[in-house]
């Protein structure tokens, strides 16, 4: 029932107005990446004259962004994968079992959400130092995977709960084990939830500068955000290169989101046709 009547017009207008407001800081960021710092100092909101790729070159080559990009990819993809996988397994049990022990564990996992990010840094630093994981990307991956568990298990459990029990019971009657039921029946049904969790974990992990800054002391182990911090000086900031670096950092996220939102839609329609 998609009526393209006049009544829809004001809706569309308002949506577009908000969209423009929403995107303007981003547009500002991209436009400024084509200017020089000096230009920004004399005319902060001026338009770039021409496509000056100088800052991009500087960021990619001189500032080793290529290495950082690969590191970020490796760390983020692996962390999201591990975090989501272990959370899916746990969420299934939380949603379906009524045993006390699992209710307690679910509450425990949820309380992990309350952990303020910087509180953990000293203990984790000493732990890593003792284990020799400083400047080791796998250490970072372990931390991020663990930090994803509270949020992911929370969301996934909520979605698992919403699914009717009939399919599982049918599968059990047919003799399928718990894991098979989980993997082949339920997993496809929570695809929109998985897409949501992936997006909302990928982005903060990709953009996090604090943990890699503290734990990755070796320059080859830097991720993109840490690379970005090197453009911030004590009193002066290299704005031009920073914005170019930022644009490079943001593009994969945009691509991810576009792909993931497709999954969200297809997952929704699949979920509805039972």
């Amino acid at each position: 029932m998609k009526r393209f009547s006049i009544l829809n017009a004001p809706k569309h207008v308002l949506l577009w107005i908000y969209a423009i407001a929403s995107l303007s800081p981003l547009v500002l960021m991209v436009l400024n990446s084509f200017r020089t710092t000096k230009q920004m100092a004399t005319d902060p909101l001026g338009l770039p004259d021409g496509l000056n790729m100088g800052s991009y070159q500087k960021a990619w080559i001189t500032a080793s962004f290529e290495t950082y990009f690969l590191n970020s990819m490796f760390v983020t993809i692996t962390s999201v994968f591990i975090g989501t996988a272990v959370s899916l397994l746990a969420a299934y049990v939380f949603a379906r079992s009524k045993r006390r022990v699992f209710a307690v564990l679910e509450g425990l996992f949820l309380s992990g959400l309350l952990l303020p990010v910087f509180l953990a840094i000293l203990p984790i630093f000493y732990l890593f130092d003792a284990l020799g994981l400083i400047s080791n990307l796998w250490g970072l991956i372990m931390v991020y995977s663990a930090l994803s568990i509270p949020f992911s298990s929370f969301i996934l459990a909520a979605f698992f709960r919403q699914l009717p029990i009939d399919l599982e019971e049918a599968a059990r009657i047919d003799g399928a084990g718990y894991f098979r039921t989980f993997f082949f029946i339920l997993l496809p049904l929570v695809r929109p939830a998985i897409a949501t969790v992936v997006v909302f974990r990928f982005v903060p992990i990709w953009n996090d500068f604090f943990y890699p800054l503290m734990l990755m002391r070796d320059r080859d182990a830097y991720t993109l955000p840490v690379g970005l911090t090197r453009f911030f000086g004590e009193y002066q900031t290299d704005w031009a290169t920073l914005f170019a670096g930022l644009t490079i950092t943001t593009i994969p996220l945009v691509i991810l989101f576009i792909v993931a939102s497709k999954q969200l839609v297809s997952g929704l329609t699949a979920g509805m046709s039972k």
Binding site: T37, K38, A41, T42, D43, P44, I121, L122, P123, F125, Y126, L127, D129, A130, I134, S135, F209, F210, L213, M214, R217, R219, T229, R230, F231, F232, G233, E234, Y235, Q236, D238
Partner: protein, 433 residues
Amino acid sequence: MRKRLSALGLVGVAALVLTGCAPAAQETTETADTQTSATAEAVDPVTLTMWSWRTEDVEKYNTIFDVYEAANPGVTVEFEAFLNTEYNQLLATGLEGSDGPDLAMVRAYGGVQALIEAGQLMAIDGVVDTGSVEQSLLAAATGRTDGSLYGVPFATQTLQVFYNKEIFDELGLSEPTTWDEFTALNEAISAGGYTPLALGAKDSWMLPIFHEIVGAARYGGPEFRDGLLAGTTDFNDPDYVASIQIVNDMTKYMVDDVIGVSYADSQIQFTAGTAAQYPGGSFELGSFTDSGLDLGVYLVPTPPNSVSTKPISAGWADGSFAVNKTTENEDAALDLMNWLASPEFGQLFVDEVKQFSAIKGLTYSDPVMKEMDELFASGPTAYINLVDMRYGEPVGSTLIGEGIQSMFLGDMSATEVATKLQDGIATWFTPGA
């Protein structure tokens, strides 16, 4: 209920046990070897790592250290810079861990005490020759409780007013020498369609700096400081209060809603040419020169009823080089420290990094820098709220910064701001210490 309590108890015990995994009071093993070799003997290749927060100076330091490496074959100095705002934490954990730097830049005055008290820095009394360093600045790297020296100050900052020569020429203005001239100057700039003073009041740390620039003469700079430290006066002194009031009076020469202007914005005001003057620190010189401005500097003339008879420039040491106590390259590190305390380094620092060095007797090729140096020498004082008032919590500069913000908003009077400052630091500051 009992289950809950015992669970809680279990957690508490676990917490105490696990805390043991953090380094507790260590038994320090004194390395007896304090011999320093002054000659450039051929040694086994040594790489010294140095950490810093000066991300904007990495290339410049590499150039400077090339000179040292050429004179000391076999020694390589690796200079690494990290994000300024997180640097303190990075350094504290780095010095603790097994992978720390041999040397590091450390913060000045109160900012370095935590590292000293934790025993992470090497005392350098007697092993590093600091004769060429401006002696009053050594306080920046001295331990408050034990009085030992732990570092060599590397940079100093001074405060003054920068102005745009082009605008001054256009309006036919010249540097003021009396307070009346200063007032007339600002009025003329306003009339000419420019903003007289650029200030980023949103970022509170700029406000005590501005206070020193316009008010230091009013409260009497060095004499006041001596009295404050000896306990014969405090921040409630009427002259000090009057100096704060001057800050408020100056807002008529700034944009409306100056409280909403950020530090970055205020810099843009100046570099984009909408404001004629920028009261600021020598740390601004680099970015102002880069933006192509034709700069002049002067010190604010003495306000009416000033305690001081001449204009004053406040200054401070902005950081020091220090040695990691657990370094494996002690000799090489101390050799480098001696070089960092030498006029050779000082001159290189001035020429490359274009900031003031803590070393005495250097020459400045940049005319603006030369003038700033002369102005400072003509009426020096210390930026009290940074130099003396950061040894405890709450910190003086934050107190007065927030107070001035409230004053701009009309919520506090100058007297109340002074009281806020005095009461805050009185919780930890003891005069005569």
